[in-house]
Symmetry: C2
Subunit: 346 residues, 2 copies
Amino acid sequence: MAKKSARGRSTKPSLKDVAKLANVSVMTVSNVINLRMARVGDEVAARVREAIRELDYRPQRSGRSLRLQREFALGLTVLHPDHRFLDDPYITQVAAGMSNYLATIGYSLVVNGLRNMEALDTLMERSFGYDGFAVMVSGEREQRLQVYHTLARLNLPMVVVQDDPPPDLPEISSVRQDDGAGAGMLVERLLQKGAKRILFAASRQIWPAMERRAAAAAAAAGNRARIDYLSCSEDDFEASIGQIESWLRAHPNADAVMGGNDQLGLAAMQAAERCGLSVPGDLMITGYNAFLFQKFSKPTLCSVASPAYEIGQEISKILIGLIKDERAGPHHLMMPVNVVEGGSIG
Amino acid sequence: MAKKSARGRSTKPSLKDVAKLANVSVMTVSNVINLRMARVGDEVAARVREAIRELDYRPQRSGRSLRLQREFALGLTVLHPDHRFLDDPYITQVAAGMSNYLATIGYSLVVNGLRNMEALDTLMERSFGYDGFAVMVSGEREQRLQVYHTLARLNLPMVVVQDDPPPDLPEISSVRQDDGAGAGMLVERLLQKGAKRILFAASRQIWPAMERRAAAAAAAAGNRARIDYLSCSEDDFEASIGQIESWLRAHPNADAVMGGNDQLGLAAMQAAERCGLSVPGDLMITGYNAFLFQKFSKPTLCSVASPAYEIGQEISKILIGLIKDERAGPHHLMMPVNVVEGGSIG
DNA sequence: CTGTTAGCGCATTCAA
DNA sequence: TTGAATGCGCTAACAG
């Protein structure tokens, strides 16, 4: 049971308490805990374990961290103006992948949601609680670069997610999914089905990955089809529908709408219905990053499966590697993607 | 710039380094950093700040934590068999609410996703990195109680989310939303519109809150309507649709389906369509916890707005209060909910 | 206003 | 095989 001091404040037991109870030195206890059994006799070890159990002792992270100069945690920093930043399923999948991998090696995940640059500055002044971290940033490239530069000053292993790291900071690693290929595959299917005029509906809030999808779609289409670009207020679903609907009414010759993500694909489905267009007969629709929503529509959305969860795991492995071997160079990982079939393109 | 040792390993600067550069004692630097300006002269403070800037010094959390016996972080522990535990929008909203509140006071959020009791035991052996934590557990009440009892041994401020804490552990706090009232309001509306036979479609994975909703719905209906109960495999959307569809075909006199959450409400929408039932004409449908999805269907789902984000904030406030004043008793907070209108009940 | 001392819990190093 | 000494970075308490 926890020790209580005179004032009634319960204090956690330390190595010293265990050592006293087991009648050994603190080092012996430390050795037992860290499984250095070669250095401890069997019966002594048993006595120590009994004392640990009796006191309900658990090593205190702060002492260990101070001594070893390791925090035994990784960070996930998200810079995004929406305060409900974890609404984004991509972010949550990355976080889940990191958390689950880290749990297997006794590490923790520290999540930081920042709404603007000021919050970042505040964060920078404080100490952190991790040995390395991943960053996901929305906004213009210029601003993203500024964020990366700021965070690089922490001098900690760092992975940029779904973006190109700054060329002038070669130490930074990156992990992305192959959104160029994914968008290309979707466009190819639309072209095969005769699409000549396509709308790419992106979110108003800029994510680098979505820009890459739009660019890759345009490149894949070449001069075989025309691709227009529409920026939608993704956070307001109703508004997105309205914007796509307006565009569809203004462009009755459109053959397809590519949603920058599945939410926008679903918005396009409803916009089509409001315009009296049948899917996929009158209008084909695709989404991107098939998470929960992909099946919510009828017909099901044709989309691209995102390995966001696996990306979270890979990020962790890379960071742990960089922490263990400081000499290791930066990693740049590109995860493959594949199309998820759906009735929305026929 | 970061100091480099002979081996090329970069080492973080410490108070001592700053003190040396500024020609003051470490305590003076500490006082400047902690804004104890009454104890430091203006020009000395300026000199110290200059040194901090020059060395890019940042206080190291581990030293501070060790000295003050505080981790400056809160934990969020989720025990749920699905490894993508953060797929649940309720959990992510709670996490976002916690993270954003904590950012304002310089605390961090540590996320722990556990898939089973073994993972919990592993976690219990290690040291943690937080001063208090919130718990969200799915599964049977018996198993949940076991989890709470295990975690209580950490002897840390603890908040149970969306569940009753164990009666024999009066120290544990709790925060819930008033799901009884929410379910009651939905039932009342259905009854007003003449519903006599209602299906409550719950997820196969048991969440205490969903059980409360089902119980409250039955209680509210009394003998005015019959409420059946169906357990759906929520993780597989297609399977959920199939299960609800089967039930609807077997019970053609059903008037309404209450989804235990919005995902299940959406599944019911599709099941209705497959049965050739129009919504709300032939069948009324409700959801629960209106997050992103609530607007994804047509007609829009009638649901109950969840204050999950606010719950996250309240959890943090409660925990911080308990950490600051150990004498404070447990808190038990019940957050009100309200209905979100939608065309799915007419 | 500034400096000195001491010790938080732990693991590396060295001594027995 | 076990123990003792040392110091990681920081701040409360006290001394000047």
